[in-house]
Symmetry: C2
Subunit: 398 residues, 2 copies
Amino acid sequence: VVDHVESLVAVTPETFRKERNIDARILHEVTEIDLKGRRVHVRKLDAAKEWWESFDQLLIATGALPIRPEVPGIDAQGIYGVNTLQSGIEVRQVVDQQGPKRAVIIGGGYIGLEMAEALVRRGLEVSLVERAPQVMVTLDPDMGALVSEALMAVGVALYREESLQGFEAGKGRLQAVVTDKRTLPADMVILGMGVRPNAALAAQAGIPLGERGAIQVNERQQTNVASVWAAGDCAQSFHLVSRRPFYVALATVANKQGHVAGINIGGGSAAFPGVVGTAVSKICDVEVARTGLQERELKELGWEYVSGKIESSTRVGYYPGAGRITVKAFAEKGGGRLLGGQIVGQEGAAKRIDIMATALHAGLTVQEMANLDLSYAPPYSPVADPVLVAVRKVAQLI
Amino acid sequence: VVDHVESLVAVTPETFRKERNIDARILHEVTEIDLKGRRVHVRKLDAAKEWWESFDQLLIATGALPIRPEVPGIDAQGIYGVNTLQSGIEVRQVVDQQGPKRAVIIGGGYIGLEMAEALVRRGLEVSLVERAPQVMVTLDPDMGALVSEALMAVGVALYREESLQGFEAGKGRLQAVVTDKRTLPADMVILGMGVRPNAALAAQAGIPLGERGAIQVNERQQTNVASVWAAGDCAQSFHLVSRRPFYVALATVANKQGHVAGINIGGGSAAFPGVVGTAVSKICDVEVARTGLQERELKELGWEYVSGKIESSTRVGYYPGAGRITVKAFAEKGGGRLLGGQIVGQEGAAKRIDIMATALHAGLTVQEMANLDLSYAPPYSPVADPVLVAVRKVAQLI
């Protein structure tokens, strides 16, 4: 939906240099961190040059890597992990120039679903293979089912509870995807199996890793080595609801962590308290949002909880454009503290998750939330916002 | 924008009777409350019948009345206060059947602005007279100015800092509106000068009134008379930010108060803690929202505060449909507790006020809010939600 790739670049190296006095070097790879020598080994990718560069303060912001399954044929041409601007450009070029007809998406997370939508829009025949019973495993299965429906409604062939076995290739080019149940002919494959922290460089230098292999940091984004910091998709976060270390690779979190690291490196003082697990996505006309803990996480923690789910309307029923919205909420059994929420619905549904995210930060109970003075006018909401209706339902079960 | 009047009726007397076992009598007016005798005097409007009806519990839910200025010509035909379904039907009939060409709106509040939009859409020449320097006085003047601009952009002739003197009529029919600065020819006038509690019946019975003449109630919606309750636009509320009695005539508040009164009358136990002053509106493509205290209220209270205003985008800039949004926020000087917020912007702007409303309920500071884990994806928001950007700006001034 965006015409020019350039508009996706927030800040160019030129702007960094000219406006912010930052020497941002692209096509330079750091291959080693020498903590004792306080230096990094740099390789220039577009020239045969390598050297050691010294530092006073070091920020590791190496991001995440798409998970590539170790299955036969994984190195065939035509398999893409869409995690950088460049990999997105490649996929678009392939679609523009080679006219692929059949795409198979492996994994029904945010990237998988967004790519499924994008490729359907471009006229490809799209299949999606998901190991779980429903797509979008960051939602509970009953809420994920609503997303599965939406996906099928736009014409995506959905294969659930099916796992990838490998790829068939001819002359090094992808020809088909093999699952435990079938073989799907494919001209291109998108890997949407999630990401993992790109923390190998830090690990090799002896910097401790934590949750899911992400770099351990304190509230100031400091690693356990003085003057070495980490932020973004390579770094660990803290979950403010579970009160446990947490890994999440999302732009908002990376942004906040980078901001805090920057202030501290510059001599100021800032802290990043953590996240509550908020995320949103859009799959065709369906908006999807979640925050806090979901059923699976609550069970893993062994916490006692109650939950409620309601169906309502995004606007007053009589107002043009009113669409369906389903809201699910969780609260602590007994006390009633909100623990999480999930929303699936049409236009205007998703951003309501911010009400629940704010309530999670504040530690509000569903009883307190039942009287929230939320905004109402017919173009925006029924007189009782769907989030209110959901928390009221949960409040009755406390 | 709604085709059938019937779709605006939430519950009909028939549904009340058949599905809820409630004898809802329309066209019955209560003309007197006899507290000692525990009875009300009822007059049937479509028949010459009057009688006393006894009660065990009495709920007064008489709503509000549009303010009608006592100026010459106010009784001329063609002047409408749009506050009931019936008055809305009348205005539509006049527009449909009499083809009025020029409408003048008196007052730039919610009703005035929504009617201005509706009549412009129906092809009328619309003027709006507002006593204040800007429309929408529930916003600060700088934010109201953005709404004034939007109104003029759709072709409404806006006369600010101008006050109504009277109406000119011929043979009892409206001909013109006279202000202190000009005479505006008019085929119809909409009174949008606000409402006042319809509490005369309660007052006559000796039930104490409070803020702006609304019926005094406690948290349970109980008046100072045992077994007599009040809820909705006739009843007083409590402002959770100023910690003072407050009057607001909005459906959300009426709804919550009615719910609480109903539970208590039925023998249960419920409380309505109060409001934070949230309201939204839509004027053509401009969304308007406010919550908490505005500058005028803060000055009246004599509270020390800081404020910040930012401009941002409703979505990531490169995403189709991204529009402008202006967010203003107030916080307690020193402590940083959020005190209020205002939003004016394009599609997707207004509902963000709920983040601030929830934060007001929870008593969050802008420093705490600076790290809120709000949802982000390009179709919904820039990576830092405009509300975050605004509270961060205020946090730097604490």
